[in-house]
């Protein structure tokens, strides 16, 4: 009898460490990894950094149909528009220039990042007033379902196929502006202003297909979770 009780005690005490180890691994396995966010000031540079790989390899099979190659990546405000990031601590800007192989046609993807939505709204107002003086602003709902489908997105979360934005047309450029509030994640106030435009030409109907490609491919992840973009507003939006 005594021997059986001793054995029981040994079994109980012997299994406790294994149970603890099991609980430990269970605990860490159900602990999520991430988000592992970079510092605020790195976003605009980083997004433009990611843009640059697409045409690096000629063997590229997917996504198909890409005929735009990156030709420049720049840190700093896109010089055609006013500098929006001079006063804000964590506000940065970058832009990428694409070229169409075999032509002189160039396209730009410019991004302004703001840590703070208030600063973003002020900049939105400043920018839209400037643009109104330079050309014409028109609200737009851009249907990208065809472009998104052509990229063969297989992920579980479907990106929004219609983006609300603003068309800007002036003498020497035309393109689309989007404002994305809470762009990085819903719990943060990060805000992007993006411009996808033609350089040195203003025939948007001729260049729109290129811009749609860039918007669907490069801008896409930043709309995926927030699910929405907005037009430029002179008052800014909160």
């Amino acid at each position: 009898m005594k021997e059986t009780e001793g054995l029981k005690r040994w079994i109980i005490w012997g299994t406790i460490p294994f149970i603890l180890i099991f609980i430990f691994f269970l605990a860490i396995l159900i602990y999520p990894i991430g988000p592992g966010l970079p510092q605020h000031q790195d976003f605009s540079t980083g997004i433009i950094w990611n843009v640059g790989h697409r045409c690096d390899s000629p063997d590229r099979a997917n996504p198909p149909g890409s005929d735009l190659c990156i030709s420049q990546r720049n840190s700093g405000n896109y010089p055609q528009f006013p500098s929006l990031t001079q006063t804000a601590g964590y506000a940065t800007a970058s832009h990428a220039v694409f070229r169409k192989p075999g032509t002189n046609q160039t396209r730009v993807f410019a991004i302004w990042y703001f840590e703070n939505s208030g600063e973003c709204g002020n900049s939105e107002g400043l920018l839209s007033r400037y643009l109104k003086a330079q050309g014409q602003l028109t609200p737009v709902s851009l249907d990208l379902s065809r472009e998104i489908q052509s990229w063969n997105y297989a992920g579980g979360q479907a990106p929004p196929s219609t983006l609300e934005g603003t068309v800007f047309e002036s003498n020497d450029t035309a393109g689309y502006f989007f404002v994305i509030k809470k762009a990085v994640m819903p719990s943060r106030d990060d805000c992007f202003i993006e411009y996808f435009g033609l350089i040195g030409e203003n025939n948007l109907s001729a260049g729109s297909a290129d811009l749609r490609q860039i918007i669907a491919l490069e801008g896409n992840p930043w709309y995926l979770f927030t699910g929405q973009t907005g037009p430029l507003s002179e008052q800014g939006r909160e």
């Binding site: 991430g34 988000p35 990611n50 997917n62």
Partner: protein, 411 residues
């Protein structure tokens, strides 16, 4: 003519001083920019070894030692530089001036000579100048600090005391001219030969170069260490051709994206790359809107993506008890992998700890027998503003509470 000269000198001083002012957009904490004297000493030692190997004029510095001798400050009492005397066989052989802030280049000057203001005569001349520059009677100058504002701008700052020991202002003596200067007036009436825009551009360019210098310095020091370790029987390996992606939607899809992107570039061309790849992985891994991914979802997410593109000879598995030798074997087999950390520490050169973070491991340096000498080389999904390139970083092995590795292996 004399007035023009003065203007040029004052303008040079102004530019030098402004070079030390952080950019508005830099956004880093002040503490992140401070270089402590230990790190500065490492920089100085690395510089003298590099000089000894590459510059015949400094070949005698091979086994030199350094000794900190002077700390310099700016006008706001912030440290700007450290001077180290260099000794060869216990004899003075020169100096190295290193930056005390990451707002300036890591190494500011070196010479076989003596740093200005360090010899007794210079100190006496400076004191005399301070006395001669006194306006008012009965004041005595007492040296309070060494000032360095960049370039050749060295000064001694004196506190003026009256006979009762009361402070009566400060005096600054330029150690090149031995003249008292008033830096508070430098901006008055001096035409700056550049627009605000041009000057800002110049500042941004300089800050970018400075950041790149620090990155190069860190990498070079580490590489140098790697070579030394290798010659001592240690081993290292670093994979080429792994694409580098910036954080998108979450660290785990981004880090896994670099691994899958590597295979897309090496034998599996139908796999997606870049932003669409990360986007898809985030979906397959079930990455939350907050950017978090469950560790047990990472490998299955990768596998779903791979099979979606009709590849069945590549698969991902997660090892929840990874070992140094296992990781070394993975890199030696030319297979980058995802390192998922809980409560990860700082990588070398990173001011921000990794925390709960996934990174892409592309190399290692170290020895199985010496855990304190083991480092993994990673692409951490982050960048540094001003970096012209995306650099790898080294993290000490086990500098985390727990880690799981996600290996992607061709079968």
């Amino acid at each position: 003519m004399k007035r023009l000269k003065t203007c040029i000198i004052l303008l040079a001083l102004l530019l030098a001083a402004m070079a030390l002012v952080p950019l508005v957009s830099a956004g880093e904490q002040k503490s992140d920019k401070i270089v402590d004297i230990k790190d500065a000493e490492s920089n100085a030692l690395f510089e003298i070894r590099t000089l000894a190997e590459n510059n015949p004029n400094f070949s005698n510095w091979t086994n030199a030692t350094v000794q900190p001798v002077t700390t310099y400050y700016d006008l706001n009492d912030e440290k700007t530089a450290y001077a180290f005397n260099v000794f060869v066989d216990n004899k003075y052989s020169g100096y190295v001036l290193t930056s005390a802030t990451k707002d300036n280049f890591p190494i500011l000057a070196f010479s076989h000579g003596k740093i200005i203001g360090s010899d007794p005569k210079s100190a006496q001349d400076s004191l005399t100048s301070a006395k001669e520059g006194i306006v008012g009677e009965g004041l005595t100058p007492t040296k309070v600090k060494n000032v360095y504002l960049g370039g050749l701008a060295f000064y001694n700052e004196y506190q003026m005391m009256d006979s009762k020991g009361q402070n009566k202002g400060k005096s600054l003596v330029d150690l090149h001219t031995n003249k008292v200067v008033d830096l508070s007036n430098t901006s008055q009436g001096i035409p700056i030969p550049a627009t605000d825009q041009e000057f800002k551009k110049f500042q941004e360019k300089q800050q970018s170069e400075i950041k790149e210098s620090w990155n190069l310095q860190n990498t070079a020091m580490l590489n140098n260490r790697t070579v030394r370790l290798a010659t001592s029987g240690y081993s290292w390996n670093s994979l080429n051709g792994v694409p580098q992606y910036f954080w998108t939607l979450g660290c785990s899809p981004t880090a896994a994206g670099m691994v899958v992107g590597y295979y897309s570039l090496h034998g599996y061309p139908n796999l997606p790359r870049d932003t669409p790849l990360i986007n898809e992985l985030a979906g397959y891994m079930g990455t939350s809107v907050g950017g978090s991914s469950w560790p047990w979802n990472i490998a299955p997410g990768i596998n779903t993506l791979i099979s979606h593109y009709n590849y069945y000879t590549l698969s991902a598995t997660t090892d929840i008890i990874p070992t140094w030798s296992g990781d070394v074997n993975e890199i030696d087999s030319i297979r980058p992998f995802v390192l998922n950390m809980l409560n990860g520490g700082n990588a070398i050169g990173r001011s921000q700890a990794y925390g709960d973070h996934s990174v892409t491991c592309i190399g290692y340096t170290g020895n199985t027998g010496s855990p304190d000498q083991q480092f993994l080389e990673v692409y951490d999904t982050w960048m540094v503003s001003g970096e012209s390139n995306y650099a790898s970083h080294f993290i000490h092995y086990n500098n985390w509470l727990w880690a799981a590795d996600t290996y992607v292996r061709p079968s």
